[in-house]
């Protein structure tokens, strides 16, 4: 399922304003509170590591100045050897510290991500049904996946290097000024050009890479569509045209890629030249200072080695900027989701539904999906007795499904009350409502796992025996036991795919296992395969026995079997009565029934 439509979902990168970025960062920092100690330790380690890395060139310079011969100095083998040993120690210390830093930061980051994933998912599962009806599945999924992945990338690749690079750069600048402020001033002039070139490169290449991403998305979705529609393409003998079309998008991708190459073919030569320029400045100006006896030759050598530490960080940091930007944007989206609150909440002091059979009272209920939106239901009254079976019929958009959703408290009514077992739903504990009232959706949705596990969703605590009993009760056990691995067959793997009818049977079995007092059924509009049609109908009949049932009916035959029929039209209750009553009354239902009978 993942990947479907995935290619075209890539939109231009959102960028955060400075304000937003600060807010996101502050919030991130607050969330990191449990890790403050660990972060402190990591910071100390990373500073030490940078010091170890920066110590090397200084030691080389020291050794040359104080250990090797020049003009009036004979050299000192002791100084040389001590410097070598010190360098060796520093190098190994750097290695050990590097390991510790990498692990420490990875643990903090990954632990935070694990916490974020779990927190976000708990939050999501706690949101009301209404929220899920409004939001697109794909967007919610990408909050939990690609947005968090963007952070993961930052943590696993960027963070350590970023911190190191900042420290190395700052450290190198400090060290060269300490060694010789004159020469340092001379060298530092090359920093601005590199900085500006890198900034230019980041901006231009970022745009170019976004274009590439865009082209790849277009190209891949062209391909995806022509592969998914390959049968149509071949049936109409249009392979040539589709190959041609792909050729176009494929070349577009090439051109967009080539543009990034042209950009880097300008940037990298400039940077490499500036590197050599820096060396030339050090040697020329450094030589001048040596002749003036202001510095010794070892200092010049040390500068040449430090040049690298000035260059690399600037280049690398400009690359991280993009990673940081997209991680920030992703984090903001995640935070926004965390800030969305459930619209249906449990009131403090909510109580359990009374035991025994439950009826439903819809009392002067009005409802609209948005505060200023169109009224979907207005002033609906409907009483359903315990154990009664009521069918809701009516045209698409009349509000029958909405009425059913209010009974299950997917939403709260804007005006009026929905009472179950005499209790206002807003006063009832959600867990109690879920236990006593089940909504069986139109299409049986299957989760990864075996048939058995799929049925168990009806009641998580059910034993295997309970599950088998529920299947037997609906007369489904033999049917599913005949699968390759019986009821332990994996349902989403190839080969044993279930038909729409069979999926619906699983859905009914879940409801049987849950054993609620009230069933809210949304009848499937599409036709089931003839083979399972009867089984579904039989199972449904069995399931409805002894329960209060509200069925959103799409078929007259279903409606005709109900105790009473409520015709909903234009947000109101148009007709209410038994099948016979309504047929005799000669209203809409009667007209409909008539046309159905004659057509048969």
């Amino acid at each position: 399922m993942r990947g479907q439509g995935h290619w075209s979902e890539l939109l231009p990168e959102e960028t955060l304003s400075r304000d937003e970025a600060q807010r996101v960062l502050r919030r991130l920092w607050r969330m990191l509170k449990p890790y403050y100690r660990s972060i402190f330790v990591a910071t100390v380690l990373v500073v030490l590591q940078a010091a170890a890395l920066l110590g090397g060139p200084a030691l080389v310079g020291y050794a040359i100045n104080n250990g090797l011969p020049h003009k009036h100095f004979k050299g000192d083998v002791g100084v040389l050897d001590r410097s070598v040993v010190a360098y060796l120690v520093l190098a190994f210390a750097g290695f050990v510290l590097g390991r510790l830093v990498t692990m420490r930061i990875a643990r903090i980051g990954e632990d935070y991500l694990r916490m974020l994933r779990a927190t976000l998912f708990r939050h999501l599962m706690g949101l009301s049904m209404g929220f899920f009806e409004r939001e697109q599945t794909g967007r919610l999924v990408s909050r939990m996946t690609s947005d968090i992945d963007a952070l993961q990338e930052l943590i696993s690749q960027g963070l350590v290097l970023m911190v190191q690079n900042v420290l190395l750069f700052v450290g190198a600048v400090i060290v060269i000024f300490v060694l010789s402020w004159q020469l340092a001033l001379g060298v530092i002039v090359i920093v601005p050009p590199v900085y500006f070139a890198s900034r230019w490169f980041r901006r231009v290449s970022n745009e170019a890479y976004l274009a590439v991403r865009d082209r790849i998305a277009v190209n891949m979705s062209t391909l995806q569509e022509s592969l998914e529609g390959i049968r149509v393409v071949q049936a109409f003998a249009r392979e040539g045209e589709y190959t041609q079309k792909f050729h176009g998008t494929n070349e577009d991708q090439y051109q967009a890629n080539l543009r990034t190459v042209k950009i880097s073919a300008r940037y990298f030569p400039a940077v490499e030249f500036t590197g050599v320029l820096g060396t030339a400045v050090i040697l020329g100006f450094g030589g001048f200072l040596v002749h003036r006896n202001l510095i010794l030759i070892g200092t010049v050598a040390a500068f040449v080695l430090y040049l690298n530490n000035l260059f690399e960080p600037i280049q690398q940091l400009s690359q991280f900027y993009n990673v940081v930007q997209s991680a920030g944007a992703a984090l903001q989206k995640v935070f926004n989701l965390l800030d969305t609150h459930a619209s249906v909440v449990e009131r403090p002091g909510a109580f359990d539904l009374p035991s025994g059979s439950l009826g439903i009272d819809v009392d002067h209920v009005s409802f609209s999906y948005t505060t200023d939106g169109e009224t979907v239901l207005h002033d609906v009254n409907l009483s359903i007795a315990p154990g009664e079976r009521v069918a809701l019929v009516g045209p698409t958009g009349a509000g029958k499904s909405t009425l059913a959703k209010l009974m299950a408290r997917f939403y709260d009514p804007v005006e009026g009350t929905v009472r179950v077992g005499g209790c206002d739903l807003r006063d009832v504990m959600l867990s109690s409502l879920h236990r006593r009232l089940c909504v069986v959706p139109q299409e049986g949705y299957l989760f990864a796992g075996s048939l058995r596990e799929n049925v168990r969703i009806g009641r998580v605590t059910a034993t295997d025996a309970d599950i088998e009993r529920a299947l037997h009760a609906l007369g489904l056990y033999e049917r599913f036991a005949a699968f390759p691995e019986g009821i332990d067959t994996e349902v989403r793997e190839g080969g044993s795919r279930l038909s729409a009818g069979e999926r619906q049977l699983v859905s009914l079995a879940r409801a049987a296992l849950a054993d609620p007092d009230i069933l809210v059924l949304d009848e499937a509009t599409s036709n089931l395969d003839p083979g399972t049609e009867h089984a579904v109908e039989r199972a449904l009949e069995t399931l409805m026995v002894g329960r209060t049932v509200v069925v959103v009916a799409h078929r007259l035959s279903t409606a005709a079997r109900a105790d009473r029929i409520a015709v909903i039209d234009d947000g109101g209750l148009a007709e209410l009565g038994t099948h016979d009553e309504l047929v005799h009354a000669g209203g809409r239902y009667a007209a409909l029934y008539e046309s159905w009978v004659t057509r048969r």
Binding site: M1, G3, G56, L59, H70, K71, G75, V77, D81, V84, L90, A91, F95, L97, T102, A106, E110, D111, R114, R117, A118, L124, M125, G126, M129, F132, D149, E225, E228, V232, Q234, F236, T243, N250, Y254, N257, L258, F268, P269, F273, A280, L283, G284, G287, F288, I297, V304, N308, P395, T396, G397, V439, A448, I457, G458, V460, N527, D529, R555, L592
Partner: protein, 581 residues
């Protein structure tokens, strides 16, 4: 792969030449710097200003060549990537139905995307690595000439850098895969929980999903930490190994300077060389690590490319008779989707006269749809012959056969294009008049005109959402527009609301005028459109006659119809005057 590179030799050579120039310029920089240091230190020779100028000159050359070399290498790699992808896709478009039945779109997309990228990466790294290898060779020679001992101490540890980069790349790959698996499992739970949220919340099983997610998130964590552990060896190592070289230079070189065998400049130059080699060695290591993966990826692409289209044009195609009536003839046809499996059709004999409308009726898996798929040669029969107007479909031109046969499937696929473009699929140049004509005949003109942008409304996967019945009607219009001599409707009105179906039925009567029509349907009303009904069972024709005749005389036919007849009473929606289906 060699085949893909060949047409772009110019760029390969340019890349290699630029690489040579770059190497020369680059290698000279430390040598010049060393000479300058020696000059500063009072060892004479040319003036310092001279060395600085030479150094800058080398810098200019290095810059020019590095730009050229990058450009050439990337251009070559991208060209190879683009061409290879084109070849792959052109080939996929030609491959037979049976191939696409087996293959998963996602897998083929991965071939065209990530697999080709893997190959591209290696193509890219090869010229870059050649230049780097040259640099290394030159550095070794220069250092050895200066002092073999210094060379040994400076460069001794560096091969370890390349080895550890290779090892890292190889070890990281399975860890990366495991990490991706964990992420995939994790997003699987996320996706099903959100897609199936009605079930989850309906039964109050949020806690179960949360527990499953925690397990997957924990696995992601563990795998990420495993990856971090590996990185925590490698990253510090690539700092340590060069540092070993620098320490070696300082010790050995320093003692040599003290004994007067070397100068300070030599130490600086050697340091410079070591720093210069870090990247080339890392890259070489990475390349060596990537090669096995790229080879595997290239293998997967190759497997697709060597799959021959099983349905191919005859060497000397026979033309279908012009203005033929569209007579269909099945002679002793046997066919199975897999050789080993039980054949779906076995000994099917059936003649459908030109212009006749025949309904194929049979229980599920009786082979009705298979008959439909054999006519336009989506598959070839295992035995027997299928003839259109007397010509064996295998002897005719494939495109001609497919243009002569119009087929509408039950699950209609619409492209992300306007309604007009979808209907005019067979003939994109068709004027709007003709498109509307086809839509009218399919009973689709009315609802299409009511769409937000009428015929220009974008539909398909990423477009406006249509009901199943509406999609089917567009698909029928698409087939009508192609004006085929044989029209096949494979359950093509199954999703159309029965209350709307009569509208199409009248129009279909008109469409069927003057062409051979094969109808596969469950609904008696649709079956009644046909002149004749053929009952299939066990892959062959059981009985044939008119609907009424069979209903009266044939118990098997009645049984099949009864089973198929579901009480489809979507009539309630008729209360709503405006709804589509």
């Amino acid at each position: 792969m060699r085949q893909s590179v060949r047409p772009h030799r110019v760029w390969s050579w340019l890349g290699i030449m630029a690489g040579l120039g770059w190497t020369a310029a680059r290698v000279s920089v430390p040598a010049i710097a060393g000479a300058a240091i020696n000059q500063i230190n009072g060892h004479g020779g040319h003036s310092l200003a001279f060395w600085v100028m030479v150094l800058l000159l080398a810098g200019v050359f290095q810059a020019i060549f590095t730009g050229l070399r990058r450009y050439a290498a990337f251009r070559l790699a991208l060209r190879v990537e683009t061409d290879l992808r084109m070849r792959l896709v052109a080939h996929l478009e030609r491959l037979h139905f049976a191939f696409h039945d087996e293959a998963q779109t996602g897998q083929l997309m991965a071939n065209a995307n990530s697999d080709i990228m893997q190959v591209q990466n290696v193509v890219l790294l090869i010229p870059l690595t050649i230049a780097s290898t040259l640099t290394m060779g030159a550095v070794i020679v220069l250092l050895v000439l200066r002092s073999p001992g210094l060379a040994l101490f400076a460069l001794g540890a560096l091969p370890l850098l390349q080895i550890s980069a290779t090892l890292f790349s190889r070890r990281m790959f399975p860890i990366g895969l495991a990490q991706q698996d964990a992420l995939a499992a994790y997003s699987g739970v996320v996706e099903e929980s959100i897609t199936g949220v009605r079930v989850v919340k309906g039964f109050g099983s949020e806690a179960r999903q949360v527990a499953r997610l925690d397990v997957e998130a924990e696995r992601v964590y563990e795998r990420s930490i495993a990856a971090a552990k590996l990185r925590a060896w490698f990253l510090p190592l690539i700092d340590l190994l060069p540092a070993m070289g620098l320490v070696g230079i300082l010790w050995f070189g320093g003692h040599q300077v003290l004994t007067g065998h070397l100068n300070d400049g030599d130490i600086v130059a050697a340091n410079f060389y070591v720093l210069m080699l870090i990247w080339p060695l890392r890259m070489l290591g990475m390349l060596l690590g990537q090669i096995p993966r790229a080879v595997a990826a290239a293998g997967r692409i190759h497997d697709v490319l060597i799959t021959e289209p099983r349905i191919a044009n005859a060497a000397h195609p026979v033309a279908l008779p012009a203005d033929g009536p569209g007579e269909l003839r099945f002679e002793a046809v046997r066919f199975g989707y897999r050789r080993s499996a039980h054949p779906v059709l076995d000994g099917l004999d059936l003649v459908i006269d030109g212009g006749e409308a025949v309904a194929l009726v049979g229980a599920t898996a009786s082979g009705k749809s298979t008959v439909a798929r054999l006519v336009p040669r989506f598959y070839d029969v295992d035995a027997g012959v299928i003839r259109i107007d007397g010509v064996d479909v295998r002897d005719a031109d494939l495109h001609e056969v497919r243009r002569a046969v119009g087929i509408v499937f039950e699950d209609t696929f619409l492209f992300t294009q306007s309604v007009r473009e979808n209907i005019a699929f067979a003939d994109p140049e068709a004027p709007l008049e003709r498109v509307r004509w086809a839509a009218r005949l399919a009973g689709a003109d009315q609802f299409i005109s009511d769409l937000p942008d009428g015929y220009e409304t974008l539909v398909g996967q990423h477009g406006y959402t249509l009901s199943g019945g509406q999609r089917q009607r567009i698909a029928i219009a698409r087939a009508v527009l192609a004006d085929p001599r044989v029209l096949i409707l494979d359950d093509a009105t199954s999703s159309v609301d029965p209350s709307k179906e009569h509208e199409i039925r009248a129009a279909l009567g008109e469409v069927m005028q003057g062409r051979t029509t094969l109808i596969i349907a469950h609904r008696p009303a649709t079956i009644a459109l046909a002149d004749r009904v053929v009952l299939l069972d066990g892959g062959r024709v059981v009985v044939s006659g008119t609907h009424d005749e069979l209903l009266r005389t044939n118990a098997a036919y009645r049984a099949v119809l009864a089973r198929a007849e579901v009480d489809e009473i979507t009539g309630i929606t008729e209360l709503n005057a405006t709804a589509g289906d």
